[in-house]
Each structure stands twice: as structure tokens, then as C-alpha cells.
Amino acid sequence: MELEAAKMIGAGLAAIALAGAGVGIGLIFGNYLSGAMRNPSAAAKQFPNLLLGFALAEATGLFGLVVALIILFAF
């Protein structure tokens, strides 16, 4: 296989990491909402944790993006 083609395929495969990030973000917001529906008075206190969890989950997907960029541009 041509190296250039292999690079493209590899970069595309690295983007699969975004699936996991999507699942993570969905879980975080879904669980936050269901928890907030059960006990609305405790919801506001956990909002910083929600943001923290969102950012941490989103970052894992972006690590995949960084891998894709390294494959595309750094080699």
C-alpha cells in the first residue's frame, strides 16, 4: 500500500475515538438530567461536576483527533 493512503486510513481510524467521547458525554448529561429530575434541589450543587465531567469526556475524543493529526502531519 502507498504510505500516503495508509496515513489517510490511519487518520480516519483514529477518529473512531470520537464514538467513545460521544457515549461519555451522553452518559454524563443523561445521568445528570435524571438525577436532577429526582432531586432538583441538589442539582445546582452538582453543576460544576457536570461541566468537569463533560470537559474530561470531550477531551478523550480530542486525544483521538490529536493522534489523527500526528499521523497526518508529523510523520
Binding site: L52, L62, L65, V66
Partner: protein
Amino acid sequence: MATNPMHQFKVYKIGPEITLGEINLSFTNASLFMAITAILILSFLFLGTKRKALIPSKMQLIAEMSYTFVAKMINDTAGSNAKSFFPFIFTLFMFVLFANMVGMLPYSFTVTSHIIVTFVLATIVFIGVTVIGFVKHGIKYLQLFVPKGVPVVLLPLIVVIEIISYLSRPVSLSVRLFANMMAGHTMLKVFGGFVISLGLLGGWLPLGFSVALTGLEILVAFLQAYVFAILTCIYLNDALNLHH
């Protein structure tokens, strides 16, 4: 694609080339925007605290809000022991926040979208926290790698994992900020390129997307500054209050 979406991250020098031995110290657009960020923070806080009224003006209100926001964050996550680190964490938060926000302006340069900038910030945090931990607890700080209540059989594995996770802190801290900013700005540029290439008829859809994404990016800009600061607080908490 109309233009290369990576073009916006190019660092070029402004003015004469300054070299110190082998090191190139030229003034670049990155340093220019870092200076702009610093000046903006200084003038924001200066204007906010110039006329200290009991009933605050809008500027004073925002400045006080940023102060209480960071102070509360430190108190909640790192405990009251960490009060003395407030200036550092406030500076860190404001720098990252303003650098991200300045980057959202068209034709500007996002300082935090370069791994070296965020990596230096994260390394300062990492080394600082490690030094604080060893100064405060001495050799006992190594207990951090031995979590309580773990069966002895599992300990060799757990300790190795803990050490690896500790050492990867600066990497994950810096890559998180850098990747978020870079991915967001690349995405904005890609959608901007779609607007041009689809023309007057089909360009409205990506234009709408661009507007929505800009809103999301402003949220992310704030969120990443917040996460950077709060993770610094959590690391500081590990170093200050060992048994938690």
C-alpha cells in the same frame, strides 16, 4: 476546500529577528497575542477596581465575580489550606480564559492552540505541585501512590498504575486544552470554507452552523479555562491534604 484550515495556527515573526546563540527569540504573533492577553487582564482588573464603590459598577461587579468564582472554586476543591495559592490559580485561570476569548475574535491568534504554551503551563503546575507535596510531607508524599484499602496482592499493579497516571498529568492537562482549542478553531475554519465553496445558494446552512459553533466555542473557551484551573486545584488538593 477554499483555504487550509491549519493556516491560522502559523507562527511568524513580527519585526527583526533576534537570536541568542542558537535560540531564536524573535517577537512573533504568538508573543504579541500573549502580551495583548496580559494587557487585557491587567486593564480589566485595573478598571474594575479603580473606583471601589459599595454599590459596584458593572466593571467592578464582573471583576469581583471573577475573584469570588476562583476563590470559591479553590475553597471547594482544595480546602482552606490552599488559600495561599489563590494568586497563582487566579492568574492561570484568567490567562487561559482571556487567551481563549481573544482567540475567538476574527483574525486573531489563539495562544492556547499551541501545545508548547499549554505544556509549559501544565509543567509549571506539575512541578510546583510535586515540590509542594514533598516540602509539606517529605518522603511521606509517596503514600499518594498507595491508595488505602487495596488488597496487598494488587498493590504492585496499582502502584505502577498510580505512578503512570501521576506522570501523565502534565500531558493530559496540556493536551486537553490544546486539542480543544485547536479542534474548535479548525472546525470553525472548515465550516467557513464550506460557506465559500457552496456559494450564495447553499452557503446559508454552514453559515448557520458556523454561528452556532461560535457559541459553542465560547462556551468551550470558558469551560477549558475552568477545567484547567479546577484540575490544578485537585492536584493541589492531593499535595496539600494527603489523606483524603
